[in-house]
C-alpha cells in the first residue's frame, strides 16, 4: 500500500522558510495557508505508521498516527492557524518564521514514534520558541530569553541522557509506554525532562518568568505548544504513574496561589497555565480511560481558551502599552469587544456550563472521584474555584473595571479581533456540543457532563466564589511587587554559589595547584630544554662550524697554487702529464 504521507510538521517548518521570500500580499496569504494546509493534512490522515526510516541500524518513525496523536495534531494545527490570524498585522518576518517552526516542531513531537525523532523536534521547539521572547527586543526580554534557553537546554540534556540509558536497557528506541522500566535511571531522567517542559514545580519557574516577556503575538504560540506536547508525551509514556497524581494536584493549587499575588496580567495567566496543566498531569497519573480522556480533552480545550486569554491580554498590552494590573482600570468603556471575547475565555477556563472547560475539566475531577481519591478531588475543586477567582474575576475586574485609571484605548486591529472571535467560537462550540470533541478522544467516552446535579453544583461553586471575591476585593488590590519562585535558585542562589567558588577555588588554583605545577613541571621542562640547547650549541653547532673552518683553510691553501706565473703553471702541467704516463705504464 503506497500512500503518500506529508508530515504536517515538516510542511510548516519548510514552508516557514519560504515565507520571507514572498512579496507582502502573498506572504499574508501564505501565513494563513500554511497552517490551514497542515490542518487539512491532519484531518485527512488515517491511523497507521508512516515515515519509517532506518538510520544507523535503528528504526526511526516520523509518522505514528493513532487517535491520541491525531487529536493533539488537530488542536496544534488549529491554534497555529488562529495564532497566525492573530499575528497577521506583525511585520516582523523572524517572528512568523519562529512561530511556524515552533508549531511544526510540536507536530513533529506528536507524531514521533521513536525517541530520536522526538528529541530532534523537542530541541527544535526549544530553540525556535526562544526567538519569540528575544524578538521583543527589550533588555528584560533578552535576559528572560537567556534564562528560558538555559533551562530548556538543561532539560534537553536530561532527555538525551535518559534516552541513552533507556536505549541501553531496552535495546530499542521505540517510544511507547515506559511503565515496565519504572524506577530506573533512564525512566527517571526522561520523566524529569518531560516534567520540566510541562512546567511542573519545582522545575516550572521558567514559564511565568518567560511568557510575560514574549512578544504580544508570540505569547499566544508559546502557551500552546511546549506544555501541551509535554502532556502528550506523558500520556504516551507515563500513563498511570502514581507520582503524577500528587504532582498534578499540588501543581493545580500552586498556580492558583501564586496568581493571587500577581500584578503582571500575562504572568498571572502564565501561573494559570501551570494550574490547568496540573489537572492534565493529575489525569495522566490516575491513568483510567476516563482520566486519560479527560487529560486529552482538557489539553484540547485549554489550548484554545488559554490562547484566547493571552490574545485578550496581549490586545490590551498592544493598545495601551500596559502590562501591570495596578496601572489599568476602566478599560470596559473603550475596549468592550476585547472584554467580551476575553470573558468567553475566562468562562471557559472556569468551567462555566456551556463553555469548553465545563465538559473537559469535569472528566478529570470525576475520574479522581471514581478512583476514590478524596484529597485529590478536594484539591482540584479548590483549584477550580481559584481559577474562576483569578481569571474570571480578579483579572477582568482590575483590568477592565475597578477604579478607572483614565486609560482610553481603541479596540485592537481587525485580524486580532477575528482570531479572538474564532477562538471564542470554538470554546463555545465544544461547550455546547461536547460530542464533537469526545468523538476524537483516544478511549471510548461514557461520560455525560450536562447532568442537572453537576450543573447546579458548578453554578453554586462559581456563584459563591464570586461572592467571596466581592467580599474581599479590597484585599486583592494588586501590589507593585514580584513574587519569588524556584527560579530564585538560578538567579539569586547562583550568585552565592559563585561567591563560594571564586575565593577558595581561586586561591586553591593559583597558590596550591599553581605552585605544584611550577616545581614539578615547569622548571624541569625548562631545565631539560636548557641542557639540550647547550648540547646543540657545543656539539652540533661546533661540528658544523668546524666543517666550515676546514673548508675555509683548504681554500686558503689552494689559493697559493694560483700564483699567476706561467712557468709554475707549465711545471705543474708537465708534472701532471708525467704522473699520468707513469700511471698508464704501470697500471696496465
Amino acid at each position: 500500500m503506497n500512500v503518500v504521507w506529508v508530515h504536517p510538521g515538516l510542511l510548516l517548518i519548510f514552508g516557514a522558510w519560504v515565507l520571507p521570500l514572498l512579496p507582502r500580499r502573498a506572504k499574508r496569504v501564505g501565513m494563513i495557508a500554511l497552517p490551514a494546509a497542515a490542518l487539512i493534512d491532519c484531518a485527512l490522515m488515517t491511523p497507521g505508521t508512516y515515515g519509517a526510516v532506518s538510520f544507523l541500524g535503528q528504526d526511526l518513525v516520523f509518522g505514528r498516527v493513532d487517535t491520541l496523536s491525531l487529536v493533539f495534531s488537530y488542536v496544534f494545527s488549529i491554534i497555529a492557524l488562529l495564532g497566525m490570524v492573530y499575528a497577521l498585522h506583525v511585520d516582523d518576518d523572524s517572528q512568523h518564521l519562529s512561530a511556524l517552526t515552533y508549531a511544526g516542531g510540536a507536530l513533529g513531537v506528536t507524531f514521533a514514534g521513536d525517541f530520536l525523532s522526538l528529541y530532534i523536534f523537542w530541541e527544535l521547539m526549544a530553540v525556535s520558541s526562544v526567538f519569540l521572547i528575544w524578538l521583543r527586543r527589550e533588555p528584560a526580554a533578552v535576559a528572560a530569553g537567556f534564562r528560558y534557553l538555559l533551562v530548556h537546554v538543561v532539560g534537553g540534556l536530561f532527555l538525551l541522557a535518559g534516552i541513552v540509558l533507556y536505549w541501553s536497557q531496552a535495546g530499542t528506541l521505540a517510544f511507547t509506554d515506559m511503565s515496565a522500566y519504572a524506577g530506573t535511571a533512564g525512566w527517571a531522567l526522561i520523566l524529569i525532562a518531560f516534567l520540566l517542559n510541562a512546567a511542573v514545580p519545582p522545575l516550572g519557574a521558567w514559564l511565568p518568568d518567560a511568557y510575560p516577556e514574549a512578544t504580544v503575538t508570540g505569547a499566544v504560540f508559546m502557551t500552546s505548544f511546549t506544555t501541551k506536547s509535554a502532556v502528550y508525551v506523558l500520556i504516551r509514556g507515563f500513563a498511570g504513574t502514581e507520582l503524577l497524581i500528587w504532582l498534578g494536584a499540588i501543581m493545580a493549587i500552586y498556580g492558583v496561589v501564586y496568581a493571587v499575588l500577581e500584578n503582571d496580567a500575562r504572568r498571572l495567566l502564565a501561573y494559570h497555565i501551570i494550574s490547568q496543566v496540573g489537572y492534565m498531569i493529575c489525569g495522566v497519573g490516575i491513568g483510567t480511560a476516563l482520566a486519560l480522556n479527560g487529560a486529552t480533552a482538557h489539553a484540547f480545550a485549554h489550548i484554545l481558551y488559554k490562547a484566547l486569554l493571552f490574545m485578550g491580554a496581549g490586545a490590551v498590552l498592544r493598545m495601551t502599552g500596559l502590562r501591570k494590573l495596578s496601572d489599568m482600570g476602566g478599560l470596559y468603556k473603550t475596549m468592550p469587544m476585547t472584554l467580551g471575547l476575553y470573558m468567553i475565555g475566562a468562562f471557559a477556563i472556569s468551567a462555566v456550563p456551556l463553555f469548553s472547560g465545563f465538559v473537559t475539566k469535569s472528566m478529570v475531577i470525576t475520574a479522581a472521584g471514581e478512583s476514590h481519591l478524596p484529597a485529590i478531588f478536594l484539591m482540584l475543586t479548590l483549584a477550580s474555584a481559584g481559577t474562576f477567582l483569578h481569571t474570571g474575576l480578579k483579572l477582568p475586574y482590575f483590568m477592565f473595571f475597578g477604579k478607572d485609571a483614565g486609560v482610553r484605548a481603541q479596540e485592537p486591529p481587525g485580524n486580532m479581533l477575528a482570531a479572538m472571535g474564532l477562538t471564542a467560537g470554538a470554546c463555545i462550540l465544544i461547550g455546547v456540543l461536547p460530542g464533537l470533541l469526545y468523538r476524537h478522544l483516544p478511549y471510548p467516552v461514557d461520560f455525560a457532563p450536562y447532568t442537572l446535579l453537576h450543573v447546579t453544583s458548578t453554578m453554586g461553586m462559581l456563584g459563591f466564589t464570586a461572592l467571596g471575591f466581592f467580599m474581599l476585593v479590597k484585599h486583592l488590590d494588586p501590589e507593585r511587587k514580584i513574587s519569588l519562585d524556584t527560579d530564585w535558585f538560578y538567579r539569586r542562589g547562583a550568585t552565592g554559589f559563585l561567591a563560594l567558588v571564586s575565593e577558595p577555588l581561586r586561591r586553591f588554583e593559583y597558590d596550591f595547584v599553581g605552585e605544584i605545577y611550577e616545581y614539578v613541571i615547569r622548571r624541569p621542562v625548562l631545565g631539560v630544554a636548557a641542557l639540550l640547547r647547550r648540547f646543540d650549541s657545543l656539539v652540533v653547532d661546533s661540528a658544523l662550524v668546524g666543517v666550515g673552518r676546514s673548508t675555509q683553510h683548504l681554500g686558503q691553501a689552494l689559493k697559493t697554487a694560483v700564483s699567476g706565473h706561467t712557468q709554475q703553471y707549465a711545471l705543474i702541467m708537465a708534472a701532471g702529464a708525467l704522473a699520468l704516463l707513469l700511471l698508464a705504464r704501470f697500471a696496465a
Partner: protein
Amino acid sequence: MSFLERQLEDLVRLRRIKRTFYVGLGLVALAEIVMPLVFGAGHPHFAFEGIPAWGSLYGLVSCIAIIVISKLIGKVWLMRSEDYYDE
C-alpha cells in the same frame, strides 16, 4: 455612553444588578439543596458531597481560603520589590 457604562456608572442600576446577583445566588444555593431531594442523589463518590449545597459551600470556603492563605504566604515570604533581581 456605551451600554455597559450606562449600567455600571448609574448607582441605582448598579444596586439593582447587585440585588439580582444576591437573589441569583440564593436561588442557586436553594436549587442545590432541593435538586438531590427531588431528582435523586446521583452517584456521589464521597461522603462530603452529601452535605446540602456542597458546591456553594465549598466554593465560598475555597475562595476565602485561597485569598487568605496566599496573601499570608506572600506577605511573610514571597513578595519582594520589583527590582529584587536587578543588580
